[in-house]
């Protein structure tokens, strides 16, 4: 095996694992869009605020990890419910730009609250996972990425099951499909909207713990949110398998682009390549790989 091929494999494996973790964050976006047709431009900020909460619980209050993680997840679930009740419910039926701007405004609020409440400095978010990479042939696999990938797969599978088999999941799909008919069938639509936001909160909390461990916790953790859009556009805005596949594609493309193009242009390809891919996807297949094909055309 030549060195070049080894390098390629290394980029691939890294990209796949990172891609799975993008999938986890994109899942939060997809859950909300699937159930409520609302878009969450604050997904990255959800992840950030959850990461800050957990890191603060670990670092300042010296809570054990299980308690800190539980606290973070519980807080984000409560936050999701509260947010839907106070803000998003009032915007139902308004034009797209209203919801987009409301979540952008929310993102701004969260960016302000995080450093004000917990300090502006970067915090570590230590997990009991070894730092030593696992070496397999030419591959170096950091254990945290492996754990992150596994957690992502677990949750993606779990939510997949939830939507297909469980009573609540089926009700949620009915709400997503047609709100009026769902209401006529006796489904409490607003409760399911709240539930969708709470589920997004939970997924974001997990994303915050994993990503916070990898890149540290401060305001910049929210930049992970910028990766969500290429992922969900590629996979389809309302598709859970799409979040995985989109995540994998974005992870692969950005790693390979960064590995082969960065040396010539001086860095930054990682943030750039997924968006080029996304533009192409929007032109060719705007509803994504798995998305429902009813996208309003002009």
């Amino acid at each position: 095996m030549s060195d070049d091929f080894g390098f390629f494999l290394l980029l691939m494996s890294n990209g796949l694992l990172i891609g799975l973790m993008y999938g986890l964050i994109a899942l939060g976006f997809v859950l909300v869009y699937k159930a409520t047709d609302a878009v969450n431009f604050a997904q990255g900020e959800f992840v950030m605020i959850a990461g800050i909460l957990v890191a603060a619980a670990l670092g300042v209050w010296k809570a054990p990890l299980w308690l800190a993680a539980g606290l973070g997840i519980a807080a984000m679930i409560g936050f999701g419910f509260a947010l839907e009740r106070t803000t998003l419910r009032k915007l139902i039926g308004r034009p797209v730009i209203a919801v987009v701007m409301a979540t952008i405004g929310l993102a701004s609020i969260l960016r302000g609250i995080g450093p004000t409440a917990f300090g502006a400095g970067s915090r570590p978010l230590p997990l009991p996972i070894p730092d030593e990479p696992i070496v397999v042939g030419p591959l170096f696999i950091p254990p945290i990425q492996l754990v992150g990938g596994l957690v992502s797969l677990m949750f993606l599978g779990g939510f997949g099951w939830f939507f297909v088999k469980s009573r609540k999941g089926i009700a949620m799909r009915a709400v997503a499909d047609n709100q009026q008919v769902a209401m006529a069938m006796g489904i409490n639509v607003q409760r399911y909207f709240g539930l969708a936001w709470a589920m997004t909160g939970m997924v974001s909390a997990l994303g915050g713990i994993i990503w916070g461990n990898i890149i540290g916790v401060d305001v910049n953790l929210s930049l992970v949110g910028f990766k969500v859009f290429p992922v969900v556009i590629l996979g389809g805005l309302d598709s859970i398998p799409g979040a995985v596949i989109g995540g994998l594609i974005v992870g692969l493309v950005e790693n390979i682009a960064a590995g082969y193009v960065d040396p010539y242009v001086g860095g930054g390809t990682k943030d750039f390549a997924p968006y080029v891919l996304m533009i192409l996807a929007l032109m060719i297949r705007p509803y994504g790989i798995f998305g429902k094909k009813i996208i309003e055309r002009v």
């Binding site: 701007m101 409301a102 805005l237 930054g268 968006y275």
Partner: protein, 355 residues
């Protein structure tokens, strides 16, 4: 604007479309013009004039964005990038060719219009949320390209120094000079927008916003008018970028990042979508917000909190207030400050008699 209207009876369409609903409106406009052209620049201190200049620049950008979002109904999260296109076009022309500012201004606007029309192409296939994400991609791609192509930006994280604009032999260096310089373009932008939206083109824009399929059926070429809306709006954005560059004296890509696109969207949401006066109100409001927060925190924050805490709090407070205001206006007053203004006016229209 501030006069009380009474006995308005229009019998022709021309009268209904007129810029001045009543003869007295000319007086009102004259008084406001006098205030801004004579009283404010001659009485205010240079520091306050520099704030006024920032407001003027924002007004032009907000008007442009409102043409696209408010009148045509196409969302754009890429206006910061269009501004940077204008700014770098002008900066490169000024430093490489030593061209005068009118040429740079026009070239910057036209270049931004061209780029904006290209970014707007997806709007022919997709709309709403998908278009918002496509323009977001446009923003990030343009940002990255400008930052990484040395020919444009002079290298990663570099900035280009731009010479001050000159009129004949006079160099516009003080804030007062800049004030007049900018005010001319603000007037042009306001009059241009008001005339645009009541013309054939503007009515086509509004038809597309309200119901695009119906608009197509009554014979509006959607392809042409959507791209035209993107181009005109980006032209304003490009001009804004050039003027901002002349105001700062340097072109730097950090002045035009995604936060700027969001600021301008906030301006038109807070001010009022689809309204010229709303764009002006919103631009004033959003530009002054961080300044007022900083000044009031510096003045009063020290009474309750230690100095260091106050300094850390200011930027975060700005973010929180900004976000909270966007959400507040969206929920409570979707038509923005313009609607509040109209409510005040219609209250005083019949004052002091009860309805």
């Amino acid at each position: 604007m501030i006069h009380r209207e009474c006995g308005v009876l229009k019998t022709t369409y021309e009268a209904d479309m007129g810029l001045y609903p009543l003869p007295i409106a000319k007086w009102t406009v004259g008084i406001i013009a006098g205030l801004f052209f004579a009283v404010i620049p001659l009485t205010l201190h240079e520091y306050y004039l520099s704030i006024a200049n920032l407001v003027w620049i924002a007004v032009i950008g907000a008007l442009g964005l409102n043409i696209l979002v408010g009148y045509t109904g196409q969302v754009s999260i890429g206006h910061g990038a269009f501004m940077s296109v204008g700014a770098y076009t002008a900066a490169n022309l000024a430093t490489r060719l030593d061209s005068p500012w009118p040429v740079n201004l026009l070239a910057g606007g036209l270049m931004a219009a061209a780029v904006g029309a290209v970014v707007g192409i997806p709007s022919l296939r997709i709309k709403g949320l998908y278009l918002a994400i496509a323009t977001l991609a446009g923003q990030l791609i343009i940002e990255w390209t400008i930052n990484h192509v040395t020919f444009i930006s002079g290298g990663v994280q570099a900035s280009i120094e731009v010479p001050r604009p000159r009129l004949g032999s006079m160099v516009l260096s003080s804030q007062r000079d800049m004030y007049y310089f900018l005010l001319v373009f603000v007037v042009l932008a306001i009059v241009g927008t008001m005339n645009l939206v009541r013309s054939r083109v503007g009515r086509a824009f509004i038809a597309i916003r309200d119901q695009d399929i119906a608009a197509e059926i009554i014979g509006i070429d959607i392809f042409r008018y959507k791209l035209l809306a993107f181009a005109i709006s980006s032209f304003y954005a490009g001009m804004t970028g050039v003027l901002y560059t002349y105001f700062l004296g340097i072109a730097n890509y950090e002045q035009f990042q995604i936060g700027v696109s969001i600021d301008y969207l906030a301006m038109i949401i807070i001010g009022g979508l689809g309204s010229v006066l709303g764009s002006i109100f919103g631009a004033i409001f959003v530009t002054l917000l961080p300044i007022v927060i900083r000044l009031s925190m510096e003045a009063f924050g020290g009474m309750f909190l230690p100095q260091q805490v106050v300094l850390n709090l200011i930027p975060n407070l700005r973010l929180m207030m900004f976000g909270a205001l966007i959400v507040f206006f969206l929920i409570v007053e979707p038509d923005g400050l313009n609607r509040l203004w109209r409510n005040i006016r219609s209250y005083f229209r019949i004052w002091p008699f009860a309805y």
